[in-house]
């Protein structure tokens, strides 16, 4: 029991929260950008796996960390471009195509792993590098502050920076509002000459690129090898994190941290041996948290809608000139 509290009040625990949040945050930002354009990219999980594998392979082929990472991201981008092409131009169902990508990702990565390394489970037979962590000597051992600022992988900082950058892009740039227009009202967007399909294509590929960075973080930062199905559902958790954040990149950062915290807690329980018989239960925590989070999100959203209805003067007698809406209900629904 003491062990458990020693663990969760240590700087290492803080670092582990951020480490576990990083891949989720990358993928959640990916989910966000495609959702903004009105496409649910359910294939994030598969895309992450492809990137994770080819990052490691690329690194061992080129001997260069960044070249390896780039290869991983390019493969991920290619897979998401396939998804985009298939759904946008061949009109396949987005969700089904995403599911296919996940299945191909799970099986295909094992296939390619065996083709290139001869292994079926992990890529330990080849040498791959990892992205460095940034230790800040001066504050490393200061409680809390040290854990907050020091000892994180460069990609963790990149992810946080991207969340802020994405907030700016979505809300403050022409590209951002066009993306929202395409997602929210594609007919309106195209009536203004915005090429809806092109924007969606770009959004899906960008979403794949972001998820891919999350993928290579797993195999080239979190650990130094690829293991089969190492994403372990993070692509789906990312979708939940994005939904909970209601499409706001900064809230996505927070919701990803929440999931990171749940995972870190599960690990802390596991390694401290505290209530060891419940280990499997603890390991479920991030996933249970996903479900709880989605329920809470749905309830809040419903409540909010109700409030809005009352506020928007479905109530009566309120300024006949101003607020009487004579649109037959349901026109929007079509």
């Amino acid at each position: 029991m003491d062990d458990f509290f020693n663990i969760i009040f240590s700087n290492e625990f803080l670092v582990s929260i951020l480490r576990l949040s990083t891949p989720i945050l990358f993928a959640a930002l990916g989910a966000l950008i495609s959702n903004k354009a009105g496409v649910v990219n359910i294939g994030l999980e598969g895309i992450m796996l492809f990137a994770a594998l080819f990052g490691v392979l690329g690194c061992s082929w080129t001997g260069n960390l960044f070249a390896g990472g780039l290869i991983g991201v390019l493969i991920g981008a290619f897979v998401s471009a396939l998804l985009a092409f298939s759904t946008l131009y061949l009109k396949s169902d987005t969700i089904l195509t995403g599911v296919v990508i996940n299945l191909v990702g799970a099986g295909g990565t094992i296939f390619f792993l065996e083709v290139f390394t001869g292994d079926k489970n992990v890529s330990t037979s080849i040498v791959s590098e990892v992205f460095p962590t940034l230790e800040i000597e001066a504050i490393k051992d200061v409680p809390f502050i040290g854990g907050l600022l020091s000892g994180h992988n460069v990609l963790t900082w990149v992810a946080i920076a991207l969340a802020i950058l994405l907030w700016f892009v979505v809300n403050k740039t022409h590209f951002g509002i066009k993306l929202k227009a395409v997602g929210e009202n594609p007919v309106a967007a195209s009536s203004l000459g915005i090429p809806v399909k092109n924007y969606r294509f770009i959004a899906i590929v960008l979403s794949g690129v972001l998820a891919s960075v999350g993928g290579i973080f797993l195999s080239m930062g979190y650990v130094s090898f690829f293991a089969s199905n190492m994403t372990a559902g993070r692509g789906f958790i990312a979708l939940a994190a994005e939904a909970m954040a209601m499409g706001n990149p900064l809230f996505t950062l927070l919701s990803s941290l929440l999931f990171g915290f749940m995972s870190a807690l599960a690990i802390a329980f596991g390694s401290s041996g505290f209530m060891a018989i419940f280990n499997e239960i603890f390991e479920m925590m991030p996933y249970v948290a996903t479900i709880v989070a989605l329920i809470v999100y749905a309830v809040i959203a419903k409540q909010k809608n109700k409030m809005k209805e009352v506020k928007n003067g479905k109530s009566l007698g309120k300024g006949i000139q101003n607020d009487v809406r004579r649109r037959p209900s349901g026109i929007r629904r079509r």
Binding site: K172, T173, H174, F175, G176, I177, K178, K180, A181, E184, N185, V187, A188, A189, S190, S191, L192, G193, I194, E309, V310, N312, G313, K314, S315, L316, G317, K318, I320, Q321, N322, D323, V324, R325, R326, R327, P328, S329, G330, I331, R332, R333, R334
Partner: protein, 513 residues
């Protein structure tokens, strides 16, 4: 040569063989308000879409400022200074007014809120509009959303402005304001193409009128040469009278009794406040009021969509509180809902399937206890199609392909065919052309003459006054007027009650308090 727009022999045939437009010739002069009228399905929308580059014509030529054009998308039309305000607004709800305004008109990469607000302000001043650049679109009233649409087109340089049924969603006050602005735009040299079903509006605002019938322009003339009744004859293409034959009949027993009905969806506002009235056999009771004053909630309570009301609603002496819609139907309640597409029909099913969707249950269309009897269904459907003059090739046509008026006829046919004891009819002719409206109104009267009790809610005051036997005016969730003798009242009088200026029962109510 003052034609800003000229169409010569324009034709458009859809993939499924439907001829939307054929051999259309029209000239639109600079600085005029040119109304395009015609029945539902006459091809107005297709014609506008062709002018705005959304549809490509199969034949014919189009000239803008005397120059032949060939639009491949609406971007080309925008470049030629043509703008369109669609019936369903093309706005992005989560963005602000300013953001919608500048959408896809790139100047900088980064959005400067202050500059956009200033731009909105300047445009508003220039054209006499009143919008806040920082307001979020979904919080705007429908009238303001429409203003934004017009402003959007003007900002993109529109000289020729197409308005597709702009007044369908506006209150009378908003309509008046819109017309003032349109006249203002006309004086500034803009040309306006105006589609509407409301004939008095057309006569009031347009300079010239073109009539579209069965896909082609049959006539174009100066507005000053016609009046409303001549115009309606021209649209339908034959002598046409909007007059409804309504024989006097004896009122029978009370069918619906509403007593002390109150309903609130929040603690602060009562949407229905102690409403009591009856509807008897062979009587049409009209509900009247500015939208949002309780009529919708009343209908929802009667049809079972709202259950947590206080007071009683009795049908033939028995309460209907909490019973399912199926039970309601079994007790002889017919319902023509306000939103025919979302609630009244299955858009992707055939006319026949829609017609029997509430009737099959009584066993008439079932054979061998289990299977649908397609033959009887087809006979029944063909009969209804003929009886209600539904314009379709076949009873297997998909309802979603029909025009609005014909969709409504399908709903009405189904609801009226089951000999209802009581019918709730909500906005039966909204967005429906005059020909179809006449048929629907005739059928409502016929239903009443057969002894049905009818509750009619309509925003069309002349319709209410013409076919109702009694009119109840709602304001603020209360009945403020109950007119038995409809020959003595006019729309103005109704208007005073609708706006809450008068209240027949005010003294009575004060006395109670």
């Amino acid at each position: 040569m003052d034609n800003v727009l000229q169409l010569v022999g324009i034709g458009r045939v859809y993939g499924n063989g439907i001829v939307a437009n054929r051999d259309i010739n029209i000239e639109v002069r600079r600085g005029e308000i040119h109304a395009i009228v015609g029945e539902n399905g006459a091809g107005k929308s297709t014609l506008m879409e062709i002018i705005y580059g959304m549809e490509k014509p199969d034949s014919g030529q189009m000239f803008v400022y005397g120059k032949e054009v060939n639009f491949s998308s609406s971007m080309d039309a925008i470049k030629m200074n043509i703008g369109m305000v669609h019936q369903h607004f093309m706005l992005v709800n989560s963005l602000t007014v300013g953001e919608n305004l500048i959408l896809n008109t790139p100047k900088n990469t980064i959005i400067n809120k202050r500059k956009i607000a200033q731009l909105t302000q300047e445009l508003c001043e220039k054209y006499g509009f009143n919008l806040d650049g920082n307001a979020v679109v979904k919080n705007l009233s429908v009238g303001n959303q429409q203003q934004l649409e017009i402003l959007k087109a003007l900002y993109r340089g529109a000289q020729i402005l197409i308005l597709d049924e702009p007044t369908a969603v506006l209150t009378p006050q908003e309509t008046e304001k819109l017309f003032e602005q349109l006249k203002n735009l006309k004086e500034k040299g803009h040309t306006i193409l105006f589609i509407s079903h409301k004939l008095n509006e057309i006569v009031g605002i347009s300079d010239r009128i073109s009539i579209l019938r069965q896909g082609t322009i049959v006539d174009t003339f100066e507005t000053s040469t016609v009046d409303v009744s001549q115009l309606s004859n021209l649209i339908v293409g034959r002598e046409f009278s909007e007059k409804i034959e309504k024989p006097e009949i004896e009122r029978g027993d009370v069918v619906l009794r509403v007593d002390g009905l109150s309903y609130a969806n929040s603690p602060v506002k009562k949407l229905l406040d102690d409403v009591s009235f009856t509807v008897s056999k062979g009587e049409i009771v009209g509900l009247c009021g500015v939208e949002g004053n309780g009529q919708r909630e009343l209908i929802q309570a009667i049809t079972g969509a709202i259950k947590n009301y206080s007071g009683t609603i009795e049908l033939c002496g028995a309460s209907v509180k909490g019973i399912s819609r199926k039970k309601l139907r079994e007790r002889g309640v017919a319902h023509v809902p306000e939103d025919r597409i979302a609630e009244g029909l299955s858009k992707d099913s055939s006319i026949a399937d829609n017609l029997i969707s509430t009737l099959y249950i009584n066993g008439k269309f079932i054979k061998h206890k289990f299977f649908l009897d397609r033959k009887t269904i087809k006979e029944f459907s063909d009969e209804q199609i003929a009886k209600y003059e539904i314009k379709a090739n076949d009873s297997n046509d998909i309802v979603g392909m029909l025009s609005g008026g014909n969709m409504q006829k399908v709903v009405v046919a189904r609801e009226f065919e089951d000999d209802p004891v009581f019918a709730v009819i909500d906005q039966p002719t909204r967005g429906v052309d005059i020909g179809a409206s006449k048929i629907i109104r005739d059928k409502i009267v016929e239903l009443r003459c057969n002894g049905c009790a009818v509750l009619l809610n309509s925003a069309d005051l002349s319709e209410l006054l013409n076919i109702s036997d009694r009119v109840l005016v709602f304001y603020s969730g209360k009945i403020v007027a109950d007119f038995e003798n409809l020959t003595e009242i006019d729309e103005e009088t109704l208007g005073r009650y609708m706006l809450g200026l008068d209240d027949m029962f005010r003294d009575e109510k004060d006395g109670q308090e």
